[in-house]
Symmetry: C2
Subunit: 114 residues, 2 copies
């Protein structure tokens, strides 16, 4: 079943900013940006948060129009809506990503890699 | 009495984004950007929200490092921390302002100007 995604025109700046105003979601954005052009399975993000927390963060980011979530068999593939966000808010994503990829990783990640 | 402001190094991206993820605060940012270089009295923003709501929004924006709030007699002057934000997150403020100044005004403003 396809999950609902906002159209480009429905993507709102306050909503995008509010959803990205969270360290775990910025870390997810950073990971997506590092491997841009590739849709990633949820399992690529398990060092960032628990599985149920990840599902919650992906839903928030999907509803805000930041990511696309597509079912692939029993898995879900996550990709950045780069073209849509660049069209709607020129320069915004690049400026956020530039900082997001330099942020200290969330605690969960530190614990996993320790 | 001077109000507390974060230093440049203390300004955090998730905090800035979370605080700007609100239509009234984006409208305040748009108004500050339109008259940049000028510190504005709170009374310049009374078409955006009630006085007590404005105080709340200014406090949130000050604590996040987005604006400077300086007492001047019985008034308070509001200014954008443009140089600090540009140094910390290059390009971010410009990309947000570009959209913030095009956003439909909050309801309160519509009601006042009707």
């Amino acid at each position: 079943m396809m999950l609902p995604h906002p159209t480009v025109d429905q993507i709102s700046l306050p909503h995008v900013l509010a959803v990205l105003g969270d360290p775990t979601r910025l870390a997810i954005l950073g990971d997506l940006a590092r491997r841009e052009g590739t849709a990633l399975a949820c399992s690529n993000f398990i060092d960032l948060a628990s599985k149920s927390n990840l599902s919650y963060h992906f839903a928030k980011m999907r509803e805000a129009g930041i990511i696309r979530v597509e079912p692939r068999g029993t898995a879900r593939l996550i990709s950045l809506r780069r073209a849509d966000l660049d069209a709607r808010f020129p320069g915004l994503l690049d400026s956020i990503i530039a900082t997001a990829i330099t942020l200290p990783p969330p605690e969960k990640r530190l614990a996993t890699t320790a």
